[in-house]
Structure formats: structure tokens, C-alpha cells
């Protein structure tokens, strides 16, 4: 008898606790309704995120790595190697660099991907703010991203 009432109390408590969140959908609910997303954002490190954009077939066409605060170049190089290992990029085609006193843009073109890095200065600190990888042969679902 005691066991039965304990179970009822537990079930009622769980139901009550989950009540305020009952209306908040999960990712699967949105997918069921609207199909696969055109982009997803992941937290890769503390204060660093990656936004990935997809093609109609669900392949990654573009990835943007952004840091909330400036990062030393080696942190971004490690991340780029993690996201697109050098062996998957194909041969290096060309590199272009543009810089002013505070900001810089570096573009590295490979056979299969193009990687661009944006460096900037905040006060005395200089570092990398974001990097974009574009897969050349994969067309993004959203034309704005191509």
C-alpha cells in the first residue's frame, strides 16, 4: 500500500515538474514539421561556435567558426584541422592576404575547399575572430550562403 502511494506521488511530481517545459519543442519536432535545417550551430570550445550550412542533400557546404573573444592563430589552425583535415582539402591552389593596421583577411584556396580567416585588433590584443570554410562542389540550400 505504502509502495503504491509512493509511486503515485513520484509520477505526479514528475508530471508537475515537467509541466512548464511541456510546450517547448525539441529539435526532432521542428524537423518533422519543416524538414532538415539549412544550418546548425554547435559549441566547439568555450566561447567558440561553429555554424554549418547544408546543401539540399544534407551535406555541409559552408562552415563558419566564430570566437566571442579574439583567439591566437594556433587555436584556429587546430580547429580548422579538426573540421577539415589537410588530407581532405586537396592540393593548395593559391593564397591571398590583405591587411591594414588593425584588420586582416587571409584566403587559402585548395582543390576542394576555400578557407578564409579574419584577424582583427581589440585594443592591444590582436588575434583571429572568425574563419569560413567553403566546400567548392557543394551548393548551399540557401542561395545567400553560396
Amino acid at each position: 500500500m505504502f509502495q503504491r502511494s509512493t509511486s503515485i506521488i513520484i509520477v505526479l511530481t514528475v508530471l508537475f515538474l515537467s509541466l512548464p517545459f511541456g510546450a517547448a519543442q525539441m529539435s526532432g519536432d521542428w524537423r518533422k514539421h519543416y524538414g532538415p535545417p539549412e544550418a546548425e550551430r554547435y559549441i566547439v570550445r568555450d566561447a567558440i561556435t561553429i555554424t554549418v550550412f547544408y546543401s539540399g542533400e544534407g551535406r555541409t557546404c559552408k562552415a563558419v567558426i566564430e570566437a566571442a573573444k579574439l583567439q591566437p592563430p594556433n587555436i584556429f589552425e587546430d580547429l580548422l584541422n579538426e573540421v577539415t583535415p589537410p588530407s581532405t582539402r586537396g592540393k593548395r591552389v593559391r593564397s591571398i592576404g590583405l591587411s591594414s593596421s588593425a584588420n586582416g583577411l587571409g584566403v587559402r584556396e585548395y582543390e576542394r575547399v576555400t578557407i578564409s580567416l579574419i584577424t582583427t585588433a581589440q585594443g592591444d590584443a590582436k588575434g583571429v575572430q572568425s574563419a569560413t570554410i567553403q566546400w567548392k562542389e557543394v551548393q548551399c540550400k540557401s542561395p545567400k550562403q553560396n
Binding site: F21, A24, S27, V44, A47, I50, V52, K141
Partner: protein, 152 residues
């Protein structure tokens, strides 16, 4: 014999056809590496972009709707009802609005479980209209903490 050759040829050709894409990841590859996404972006009907933000447990905490084509409140409410039906919002607590012109302004409606804020403008307003068109809206789920809040 002919069949065997055909199968061999197809199996040799298939990897070649997929080669250019073989190095581009799919969603599950990212999830295996970095866990559940903190946000997702969907292209829903009529060119509307819906960005959904999640909590640590994967529940929706915030949703932003960006309308490529500004919509009058009546048709916008139909989209809103599809995303968050009235019965899921809880009781309406209060609403406020601030206008910056005859058609432009912001408004916020507070329900028990969610808060819906919208921005309207004079863009593409039809002749004789008495209200502005909605250009964007944000839904906040009360009591659900976003993972990305510290990154914004």
C-alpha cells in the same frame, strides 16, 4: 560473366562519382563530434527563416522568425499559431506596444509559458491598412535557459 563485369564496373564508378562530396560532413558527423546543436535554422514557407535555440537538454528556449516578405498581422498570426498554438502558450498575462510612427513599432505579449515580441514596419503596407506589417518576431520560452546565451 556480363553481369559480373557490370557489377564490378558499377562498384568502381560509384565511389568515383561520390568522391568530390566524400569529404563534406553531414549533420550526424557534427553531432557525433560536438553533441547536440545549440541552434538550428530552418527555411519555412514563404521565405521565412526560423532560427531555433536550444537548452542543454535540447528543449527550445528561443525562436526567431525573420520574414523576407513583411506580412500583415492576421497572416502572421496564422504562422505563429502553427509554431506555437494558443493552447500551448498558457493564459495571456499582459501585452505592451511602442509605436515609432503610424505603422512601425514593437510589441510584446506575455503568456504564462512564453513571451512573444514582434517588430512591425511600414514596409509593403497595403492601401487602407490600419496596422504595419510584421518583419520579425521572437518567442521566448519561460524557464528554459539557452546554451548560447553566454556566446551572444
Amino acid at each position: 560473366m556480363f553481369q559480373k563485369w557490370t557489377i564490378t564496373l558499377i562498384s568502381l564508378l560509384l565511389p568515383f562519382l561520390f568522391l568530390p562530396h566524400a569529404f563534406s560532413q553531414v549533420s550526424s558527423d557534427w553531432q557525433n563530434h560536438y553533441g547536440l546543436p545549440a541552434s538550428e535554422r530552418y527555411l519555412i514557407h514563404d521565405g521565412i527563416i526560423m532560427t531555433v535555440f536550444y537548452s542543454e537538454e535540447g528543449r527550445t528556449c528561443k525562436l526567431i522568425l525573420e520574414l523576407a516578405k513583411p506580412q500583415p498581422p492576421a497572416s502572421f498570426n496564422r504562422i505563429l499559431d502553427e509554431i506555437i498554438p494558443l493552447n500551448e502558450r498558457g493564459k495571456e498575462i499582459h501585452s505592451i506596444g511602442l509605436s515609432t510612427g503610424p505603422f512601425a513599432g514593437i510589441s510584446s505579449v506575455d503568456y504564462e509559458r512564453v513571451r512573444i515580441a514582434s517588430v512591425s514596419s511600414a514596409t509593403a503596407v497595403a492601401e487602407g491598412a490600419t496596422t504595419g506589417n510584421i518583419i520579425s518576431a521572437t518567442i521566448y520560452w519561460k524557464g528554459v535557459q539557452c546554451r548560447l546565451s553566454q556566446h551572444k
